[in-house]
Amino acid sequence: MTEKTMRKSRWQTTIFLAIIIILTYLSSAITEFNIIEGIATLPKAFSWIFANLMITPETFDRLPMILETLTETILMSIAATTTAAVISLFLGLFGSNTTKVNGVLSAFARFIASVSRNIPVVAWALVLLISFGQNSVTGFLALFVGTVGFLTRAFIESIDEASKSSVEALTATGATYFQIVYKAVIPQCLPQIISWILFMIETNIRNATLIGILTGTGIGYTFDLYYKTLNYNAVALVTLCIVITVIMIELFSNYIRRVIL
């Protein structure tokens, strides 16, 4: 790099920084958001949280009901993820360059993956709400569609990365497509596939809470109910339960990952 280009690149950094500062100022001016005022209200917000979101002994009476809806949510997330994983495995095989059957199916699989992934899960929930109404099927389908998109994408990458060479070798021995898939691709990709499924179960339990608020099911609905009846002590207990569950699931899946990888 010559001295001239170095000086130029230093100027570029300065200009870039200036643009960011101007953009920040403009956007806060337009939205009438004052960052100093925002920070100033933080202590007040925290004191409100500590005053209202305290778990009192009486709220523990509601624990069985909370745990019941929480279980419903967890099971729904797991069911949505595992059924989506089965579909995604096929789409992943069709979409991967190493194992694709033909170009049309490959494009189809990638299209499905991209459509279902690029529309947010919340949008799916609201769209499905119109056709299926407020029940757990809607929540299940919303999670299912989003998961298919993400897992297909992840599986395509795992398959491409892990099995190119052994697929070539088995093709050269005269093996058929399904022999190659069952005996080379799946054994080689299984740890990654399981790892992605576990990741998606974690993500879906978090998403399910939000979707529950929209579809009126599971722990999300319980949260919404207490929130709207101003029962903040119960809201705090629900939140605590969700946090503990998510952490436990994460620890558990990390353990599984360590064992299989």
Binding site: S163, S165, S166, E168, A169, L170, T171, A172, T173, G174, A175, T176, Y177, F178, Q179, Y182, K183, A184, P187, Q188, L190, P191
Partner: protein, 254 residues
């Protein structure tokens, strides 16, 4: 007695550059033939045209009186069953055991269902252990392949090719990723495949001296064309210089 014949073979991946141009050669049963040439000369492509892992555009490949270019899907599968292949990076399934990887070589003879369920006959299993013993790795039979050294993995690759009971074995730079010691073991095994089992070997090599020591015949490839085809003791310094485009003494000869 010709086992394999190429007539006017040509291949191009795009319209501008031709990887292979008018390749003609003939290989007899039981021959050990090496293909040498600089990187990018088309050695790997040439090898893969023979079992149509790469589709060629022009000319003909005749294997055992079969026109390889005209085979349908079933015929192609049968052809591949009859041709073993060994790779530079071994191309095993690393998470499976050695014995499973060897038995993969039998898929060509099985129905899809038999292969998927992993049904192997007693003879096939005995044959697999016989080959592992012959290549000196029977004590690793139940180990996962990713626990083996490169040389050991390549021997598993050879077993997988041999259990196909092939008439021809194609080796794509079998020793390019190995140390000199393992390289010698692998080359000795390949040589014995030809001398003891009568299986024809076609080997891509980077090392000119290895090619001279082991082969009956050498084919020199340069920019997609055959520039030398003859008995390995006829390969002179001028030929080597022609193939690699530089003085032979400037090359690292291992």
């Amino acid at each position: 007695m010709s086992l394999l014949r190429a007539e006017g073979l040509g291949k191009s991946y795009n319209s501008e550059t031709k990887v292979l141009k008018d390749i003609n050669f003939e290989i007899g049963t039981g021959e050990f033939v090496s293909i040498i040439g600089p990187s990018g000369a088309g050695k790997s492509t040439l090898l893969r045209c023979i079992n149509r892992m790469v589709e060629f555009n022009e000319g003909k490949v005749i294997f055992n009186d079969l026109d390889v270019g005209n085979l349908n899907k079933k015929g192609l599968r049968k052809l591949r069953t009859n041709i073993g292949m060994i790779f530079q990076h071994y191309n095993l399934v690393p998470r499976l055991t050695v014995i499973e990887n060897v038995l993969h070589g039998r898929f060509g003879y099985k129905t899809t269902l038999q292969g998927v369920l992993g049904r192997y006959t007693e003879e096939e299993k005995e044959r697999a252990f016989f080959l592992l013993e012959k290549l000196g790795i029977e004590e690793h039979a139940y180990k996962r392949c990713d626990q083996l050294s490169g040389g050991q993995q390549q021997r598993v690759g050879i077993c997988r090719a041999l259990i196909q009971e092939p008439a021809l074995v194609l080796c794509d730079e079998p020793i390019a990723s190995l140390d000199p010691n393992s390289s010698k073991i692998i080359m000795d095994h390949l040589k014995s495949i030809t001398s003891e089992m009568g299986i024809t070997c076609l080997v891509n090599l980077h090392q000119v001296e290895v090619a001279q020591n082991y082969s009956d015949r050498i084919i020199g490839l340069k920019k997609g064309e055959i520039v030398f085809n003859g008995s390995s003791n006829l390969l002179s310094q001028e030929h080597i210089q022609n193939i690699y485009g530089s003085e032979a003494k400037d090359l690292i000869m291992v």
